[in-house]
Structure formats: C-alpha cells, structure tokens
Symmetry: C2
Subunit: 455 residues, 2 copies
Amino acid sequence: MNFLIIGGDAAGMSAASRAKRNQPDLTVTVLEQTEDVSYSACGMPYNIADTKRDMNDLVVREARVFREKQGIQVLTGHTAQTLHLKRKTVSGKKRDGTGFELPYDKILIATGARPIQPDIPGHDLPGVLYLKNLEQGRNIKAFLQTHPVKKAVILGMGYIALEMCEAFRERDIQVSMIKPRETFLPWMARDLAEMVKEELTSRGVTLYSGSRVTEIRGIETGGLQVVYSEGSLDADLILVATGVVPNSEIAAGAGLELGPGKSIAVDRSLRTSAPDIYAAGDCSDAYHVVTGEKTWIPLALRANRAGWAVADAICGEDVTLEGVAGTAVFKVFDLEVARTGLGMEEAKQAGFDPEEEIIHSRSRAHAHPGSETIRVQMVGDKTTGRLLGVQMVGKEGVAHRINAPAVALSSGMTVARFSQCDLAYAPPFGPVWDPVLTAANQWMKKQQQPLDTVP
Amino acid sequence: MNFLIIGGDAAGMSAASRAKRNQPDLTVTVLEQTEDVSYSACGMPYNIADTKRDMNDLVVREARVFREKQGIQVLTGHTAQTLHLKRKTVSGKKRDGTGFELPYDKILIATGARPIQPDIPGHDLPGVLYLKNLEQGRNIKAFLQTHPVKKAVILGMGYIALEMCEAFRERDIQVSMIKPRETFLPWMARDLAEMVKEELTSRGVTLYSGSRVTEIRGIETGGLQVVYSEGSLDADLILVATGVVPNSEIAAGAGLELGPGKSIAVDRSLRTSAPDIYAAGDCSDAYHVVTGEKTWIPLALRANRAGWAVADAICGEDVTLEGVAGTAVFKVFDLEVARTGLGMEEAKQAGFDPEEEIIHSRSRAHAHPGSETIRVQMVGDKTTGRLLGVQMVGKEGVAHRINAPAVALSSGMTVARFSQCDLAYAPPFGPVWDPVLTAANQWMKKQQQPLDTVP
C-alpha cells in the first residue's frame, strides 16, 4: 500500500514514522516543499534569541535518517499542488521547476499553516520577515547576523509576536509592536492581559494598539519604515506575525469540505470528506472538548497526536481522537502565561451562561520566601456549574498548573467537582489551596450568595 | 448552637472560621492544647533551615485575631480528654492543671496526628526532638541556636525526615539517617527512589537502611549516641521522624468507630459513628478515589477542605466530600518528588491487576537549554485500562505536573483517555508530549504488543 503524506513537519513525520513502525512493508512517501522535516518550530524564537545556537539544533531528525534508517521516502523540495481524487494521485512542482505526479492508496494532508501576508505595499521588501518554518527562521537569524539591527517592528501581538519580542530584546534590539485592534490579547481576561502588558513595557517594549499599518517602505538611509494610521516607525527589521492561516488550498481545490477558518474539516478519526484522504496538524480542524463544536486551534501537541492517529487508522486500527481544549502556554520575559478552554467571550458565543472569577494567589506557601503573584481567571457555566476555562499569569508555577484544569475540561467536570480534586501541596511549590482550587472555591462562593453572605 | 472544636490547626480553624462566616450567631469554641492555632506546619523545615526567619512567621492568624475579629472563643492550653456522649460535653485539663467541662451541640474532633515515639531507652533525653506542632518546631530551632550542633541523626526517612535533612544540611550540619527497613521510600518505584537516594548521598547525607535503633544514650562529652544493630552514631541532636499516628484516643475512649491506622472513621459527610460528632484532618480517615476504600493519608489540603465541609454541614448544608488520591509533593535538595494515587504494591493489595511503565523524559523541549531529566512511573490496571497512579522525580517541572494525573484519578480516567488530554506545550516548559503523556503512551504500547511489534 502507498501511503502518501503532504508535509514533513510535526503531523506528517509523526504519521510517517508511526505508520512504518506499525507496518514495515508499507510504502511511505513524504512530500515536503522546504528542505527541512521534523523540527521544533516552536523552539525558533528561543534559538534566534541566542547568537551561539545553530538553527539546525532544532532539527529533531534529519531527512537522511528517515530515509536510511526508517525506509521512508522523503522528497524534499516537492510542492504538492493538486489532488486528483479519481485517479488517486497528487501532482505538483519540484524545486527545479519540473513537475511530478505520484499515486496514493491513502493520503495524509499535513500542510500546516502559514503566516498571514498583509495586503499592503512593501510587504515583500527585504528585511520584512516571517516566522513559521525553519527556512524562515534561518532567514531571520541570518539577517540579524549580516545587518546591524538596532530596531525591530513587529506587526501583531499574538504568541509568536510576543516570543519573538523577547528574542529581539535578548539581542538588545529595540522593539515596537503594532496592531490594528485596540485590545491587547483580546481572548484574555483584562486583569491578566494587563500583567502581560506591564511586563512588556517594563522591558522597554513599545506597544501601538489600534494602529493600522498602511505601508512598508524603504528609506534612503537603508532601513525600513512602517507607516501606520497616525505616524511612522523606523525599523531595521520588520517581523510580520499577524496570525496564521491553514494551508488548505490543495484540499479546497479538490472540493474537500472545509471547517472553521478554512481549515480542512475532519471527523474524529481524522478523515476528510473524501475517501482515503486524511488531514492532521495545523491545516485541519478539531472538535472542542468544551463546546463539542468544530474549532481551529493550531497547536503542536495536537499535530503530533493527530499524525499518530492517522498512522494507526491507515493501518486498520479503529481510531477516535478526543477533542482539543486549546491548552497553551507561553513565556513573555519573566512571565508564564497559560490558558485552557474558553474565555468569557468565547463561552458566550458558544451559548453558555458564563460567569468568571478572577483571584490573586501566590506561587508558594504562606511565609515561604521567593513567592510570586499568580492571577487566575476561572470561567464556569452558571446554569450547569460546568468548568469552561481557566487562564493564568505569573512569574512561576503557571506553565504546568494549567494542565490540571485542562484534564478537568476533558472529563467535563463542574467547578464544584474540580474544587474537590486532591492536588499536591508543599510550601516551596504553592499554597495549601492551590491557586486553581482557590479560583474554583471563589467561583462557587459567588454562585452561593444565600449561604456566604458575610464576606 | 454551641459548635465545639477540639484542635486548633488546619482542620479545626478552617471549620471555626467558616462556621462563623456561614452563621454569625453561632457560638464557636476551639480547644487547643498548645498555645498556637492556625499555622503552616509544613513550612517548619524551611523555617528551621533559615537562621534569619522567626518561627512565628509561620502563624497564619493569631488566636487573638480569631477572638477579637472573628468572635471565635479560642481556648489555648486546653487539653480535651474525654467525650461524654450522653450529656454532650467534653472534659479535660487546662495548662495550669485545673479541669474543665464544656457542653456542645455539634462537635468537631480535629486533633491531628503526632510523631510515633520509639519504644527504646533514651527516647526522652534532652536533644531527642520531634517535629509536628509549632512548639516542637520552636524547640528544634532553639536547640540549634543554643547548642553547637555539628552532627544530627534522623530516625526515619519519610517526608518530614527528608525535609529536615535538607534543613540541617542548609545549616551545615552533618546528617545521618537511619531506619529499620532495607527499602528506601518503599512506596516508590525503585528507579525513582534511586534518584532521591543519589541526591541525598551527593549532598553528603549518610543512609543506614536496615538498621534497628535499640537505644539512645548520653555520652560523657555531652552529646548523644544512637545505638543500632550494627554499631553506634554520635549526634548532637536526634530527630525522631519515624512516622505519625492519629490522635484518636478521645474518639476511641468514647467508643467511636475507628478506621485504618486507628484514625477516626468518618463518612463522606465527615460524620463519625456517633451523632453530632464530626472528625476532620490528620486524625480522621477518608475514602480513596481510586480504590473507593477507606484510607488514612494525613495531608494538609484534605484537613483544610474537611474543616470547611464540617462547617458547612453543621450549618445545615448537605455536604459530601470526594475522596483523596494521596497526591503529595516534596523537595529533597534540588529534586522535586511527587506522587498521586497508587503504587504497584498498593494497587496489588487493592485487588487491581497493575502494570507499570517507567519512562525518562525531559523538563524542556528538544534542544532547549537547561533541560533536566524527569522520570515518571505510571501504574494502570491491565484489566480495565484504568489509571491507578503516577510518581515523578526531577529537578524542575515535577511539583505541578503531578496535578494533571491527580485530576484524571478523580474522574476515574483510563490511561488511554488520559493520554488524549490536551496539555500545554512551550519549549521552556516541556517536550511537545508532556512526560506524563509519554508515560501514558508507553504504558498503552506495552499493552498493545500485537500492533507495535517493531521497536
């Protein structure tokens, strides 16, 4: 059987490896448009921050190893363009401009996502850079090595923008961030977003919110200029990090059903709407564990997990994936910022009757030295008492703390049920009542005014 | 209504405060045999480690505050001795030797636990110290300030023993630890226990396992000597930390039903076998979330939670507590050691058909600097696939990581179900597959030999 995979990063290579392990006589072919497969894309900002690190240390396994040790046909420099459903082939173009057409019995579309390219003059000038694949990461690092970059402007203020902001500051580059929407981290509770904002400004980062960029232009002195609604910003480098879109064109072109944000629609077994065609990773959608509805949240763990699931499915296993909770964490200088499930707005839009509780707690026990503030937002449904989401910000103890509520969301717990979970306690690691439990207790108190009338 | 509480630490004072908040017209009286109420007992080793900290900074709220601000009658220096069920009173002795007898409508026994006193000559010599309540903590700290302590011997190698070992080493005191049983941390997977042992010996701690202490004696030079089966150890201070027993005598004396380890038996609403009598905290038992059976695991969070629950119950609320999972974490020098649920032996004894999987993972992503080893043991039931327990050791990222499986235990998840939970990922905080997920994946792989035959 020919198992053909389009895309050689997290989902694609996970599927390739596992399929070959499951069934060694399988013919597994991977089409990858760049020269890189299987690398830690999320690690790029941290690598770029460090002048001493080689970009290639992010490569988990080289194409050569997949070919020689695992017997997987890895065809790099191959851009898949068209899916021919009837004759079961994929055609496209090689790096040298020649075409190819390859047959499949089962196919996995794992084409990932790409940065949104702003529709403004100058978006393709030298020094205007993007970060999604390793080639782009190398471009940024090479640009920093060959140009005296003193000022960077980042378009966008999402995960990648924030991580790259820290990377630039590590290299002593002035950073301005700009975006059209007024609200900073709009999905976040205001109190928590404010902590992140303060962290950024305390590190000398300038934020321009509510400013629409209209043009990027070169200036005489050799640098660039970002022109926005109220003025302009000089820059030696411009990073465009205004979000990503799924690479779903090949699926759309073949008439496959699309889901939220034009991601490729898949069922719980990762099947697209066409027979023998699967999709996984950042290009495809998923069910949300809280809403039960389709969502598009491109994250690395899901990509790996879905890749494995497809491998098992094409090898004849009966595979069903649970949904995603959108659990994510990122680092903004000294802050850890984490979320799982729904925020207030998302919960309302999903038809819940949400109530939030925001608490301030500590990262260590009463009187234990070195304690830091942890702020937690908990969102629950007033009608059913169900836990809907948690957000958290703090200087320590946030990253892994989000996983307890993430598991609770997976099992559909109420806030009350979650509040009774037996979590760990020791003075160096938290208060007796873990901050997430305190948030749950306070949330319930809010619902039970009749009993707790005295504050 | 008279709500009488015996014991003024975690469970007792939580109950007192909450009952008074719930129902301000309640008469709430607390009998505490020491002079201290409401302090962070678990913080004592860390406080003792630090010569600059005052022991009193562990007091969360002083008796005075409970009396004056909250209207709770706190009677310190009152040792409750006898429960008179028929006339609904408690009698006992005050610090000055005079007696007292107080009436109750509802009573909470929150007498905690006490260190086991070894039945050997010399166990009461000056310099032989115990650590459970704040008085004992002060004694240790005072002893260290007034005596030139260069060598300490700790009897026992449990949580408190290990934490105190670190505290002594912080103060540059040589430490030997001794216990009769050969196996170090017997509840732990050997691989993981070995890491803890190595950490101890790398810090210059000497361990005497399989050595029975037969006598403690004073020596001419003024110090002490621990005599054991094969020799003797000189010591300036001896800490007895060979475990704790519940202070359940007052309950036993009144004919109340006892549970595991002679703890006071309570139902899910914290009621003892006698009407109007509740028990909470380290003196009482609980249901285990995994086995559904009674267990006795004295831990701080449970004590606080049970205290609150009793307060709500006596105020007329219909309260039912979920069980405990025995989730615990402790610090041993640079190591974080955590557990939740059942180990292999416990699982067998509880009638499961357990299988374990031990994996080595990393605390940060591929190629991310500063990564440390994390070792995880996962125990699941072969027959049902149910997750039974997790243990974890590592230099970072262990303490809060244990809480995700703890929540999974609370909801009775299978290993397969847990393996699909959407946990957070970012390179500074872990691999894409969180170590607990890798453990789950590997555990399942072990069960599914038919599919994954090639390694």
